[in-house]
Amino acid sequence: MAVMRLGYVHARVTDLDASRSHYAQTLGMRVVHEGDGRLYLKSWDEWDHHSVVLEEGGVGLVKLGYKVESPADLDVFERRAERFGCTTKRMSRGDNLAVGDGVRIVLPSEHVVELYHEIEFAGTETGALNPAPFPRHLVGVGVPRIDHALITAEEPALLERFFAECLDFRPAERLITDHSTEELIGSWMFCGNSPHDIAFIKGPNSKLHHFAYQLEDWNAIRHAGDLFAMDDVSVDIGPTRHGITRGQTIYFFDPSGNRNEVFSGGYTTFPDFPTITWTADQLATGIFYIGREVNERFTSVLT
């Protein structure tokens, strides 16, 4: 029984055509469906129907979808979330295009997370039989898959407890004020084998900081940066490295101002991974390891 991964990000955008250009041409996702003011997109190495939904009107996060291992997991996670005090609601097949039954949970941070097990299988673009390492028709960055999301919460400790107690996530890294008070400022939590499948930092409830795509390596990050310059993408910071997660990164903004990230590297986690602690006095090194300076945008720009 487990949550397996971040399956989809559903975000609001102000302009669907500009978003199509960014997500399909610059990032290289494929539009798999459109209608009712929404675009559904998929990356080439993902096998489920879609991983990003863009809805016209506003900015910010509508919801995050996490895929669970078995149908029975939905009952267990639903009961745990209710006992925790969260509002939950059953969702039916068809409520989300191509997605089966599931449970919708309003987190203590007011974000909406949907747990589901079934989603239409589309297959990767290289297939599952004697596959090539990548499809040769890739466009732009050619992102292989989405990886994680970072959200903000007024009470990070409460949200960490929710993900740990209700969904069996584990903290890979925790950012605390100092050793005397140990107040939690941020947590990077995993359900699979990556450094984080969800992360949150202290901030207003219900806001999105960013969602990220995993690229192959540092060279792919640099290549993405070159393409961002060619396509006049608004870059927040990077290429650089995170101290937290060890990942290599560029933060940038979509045409509506939602922050995206391309991310590579990072370590492998297991259930017995010893949690890493960062103290606030080393925050800048933790966030941006090379420059050791957190720009003002990092905490002030949220959608």
């Binding site: 102000t14 009107g57 903004f253 979509d254 101002g257 720009v301």
Partner: protein, 128 residues
């Protein structure tokens, strides 16, 4: 941003002066209280005009999503050529003279004022 978007600097915080004659009749953007005046090419946003002229100020996503770059429009009018989220800039703010400088395109000359921070000249490679 590209060469076609370029605006010309006509004054700087170090050398405030009135707008000099310009070969075009593109709108001017005057930033109060420094009285920096730059020209905005047709369709160019206030942020882009100031940026290409070498000036910086506190900005966020530069794409209309965060509201960090809001300014007060003291005189003149602006328009938006892309949709703006009401959660970022609502009608009440617009009526009160707030603009989102990364998306606001001047219609004619405008005078704007930054909030809680000042314009900075980012370099001295060109301009007066």
């Amino acid at each position: 941003m590209n060469a076609e978007d370029s605006s010309s600097v006509t004054a700087s915080p170090d050398d405030p002066s009135s707008v000099t004659a310009s070969p075009d009749d593109s709108p001017t953007v005057t930033v109060s209280p420094d009285q920096v005046v730059v020209r905005a090419a047709p369709g160019q946003t206030i942020m882009s005009a100031l940026s290409t002229a070498g000036f910086g100020y506190r900005v966020g996503c530069r794409r209309g999503g965060c509201g960090v770059c809001k300014m007060d429009v003291l005189s003149g009018r602006v328009e938006y050529r892309t949709p703006i989220a009401a959660t970022v800039l609502d009608d009440t703010e617009i009526a009160a003279g707030t603009c989102l400088s990364c998306r606001a395109v001047p219609i004619g000359d405008v005078v704007v004022r930054l909030r809680n921070h000042r314009l900075r000249r980012l370099h001295h490679l060109f301009g007066p």
